[in-house]
């Protein structure tokens, strides 16, 4: 079974700082990759996703992620964070073939941005 590791459990930044959240997965086959955001008290919403093509994926609110197949990684980045980016961030992976459509989530990273 695939697994997802998010290395940073808690991140605290000041506004305008750059952000990079790490995500590594264990499955060796073709995968679909996702980053979700959960604002305080809300449900999970999709930030961006990678299925195929350009490994640099741009999402909403200025976020982007880079898929590096050789490193089994899908790190999330934002050049300049805002106070409103305070949230929980989840990386998820799903097998792209083989009949499994179950996304596996990492444990999440709590981001706090100070104004």
């Amino acid at each position: 079974a695939q697994s997802v590791s998010q290395h940073n459990h808690h991140v605290i930044l000041s506004e305008a700082a750059s952000l990079e959240l790490g995500c590594n997965y264990s499955y060796g086959g073709t995968v679909n990759l996702f980053w979700y955001v959960q604002y305080p008290g809300q449900h999970l919403q999709l930030l961006l996703k990678y299925f195929s093509g350009d490994p640099l994926v741009k999402g909403i609110k200025g976020f982007e992620a880079e898929f590096i197949k050789s490193k089994f990684s899908f790190n999330l980045r934002k050049p300049s964070v805002q106070w409103s980016d305070t949230a929980e961030y989840f990386c998820a992976v799903k097998k792209a073939s083989g009949g499994s459509y179950i996304p596996t989530f990492g444990r999440g990273t709590s981001l706090i941005v100070h104004p």
Binding site: F34, Q42, H43, L44, Q45, F90, Y101, P103, T104
Partner: protein, 117 residues
């Protein structure tokens, strides 16, 4: 309205009582999921369903029962609630191999905050 809805949003129940959390989606997605979210554990899969009348266990199924008689509904029942089942429960749905958009992300409901006292 299109989407995925959960009810109730908040529930307080006593230990030993049976509780059912409802989930309804309007996309006709094949796959539906129940996750629980707990501090330090992230999202853990309880049960999932690949289609009507097809369900399977996830990572933490003990103490829970699911059914899926219709594609759009996927209720989760706690047969005899325990304090360890105090959590936030999220239902989600996504496309499967027979859906028009099989390569899709999972869409989440607003969650149900369950407290067992």
């Amino acid at each position: 309205d299109a989407g995925i809805t959960q009810s109730p949003r908040y529930k307080i129940t006593e230990t030993g009582r049976q509780v059912t959390l409802m989930c309804h989606q309007t996309w006709s997605h094949s796959y539906m999921f129940w996750y629980r979210q707990d501090l330090g554990h992230g999202l853990r899969l309880i049960y999932y369903s690949a289609a009507a009348d097809i369900t399977d266990k996830g990572e933490v199924p003990d103490g829970y029962v699911v059914s899926r008689s219709k594609t759009e509904n996927f209720p989760l029942t706690l047969e005899s609630a325990t304090r360890s089942q105090t959590s936030v429960y999220f239902c989600a749905s996504s496309g499967g191999p027979t859906d028009p958009f099989s390569d899709s992300e999972a869409f989440f409901g607003q969650g149900t905050r369950l407290t067992v006292v």
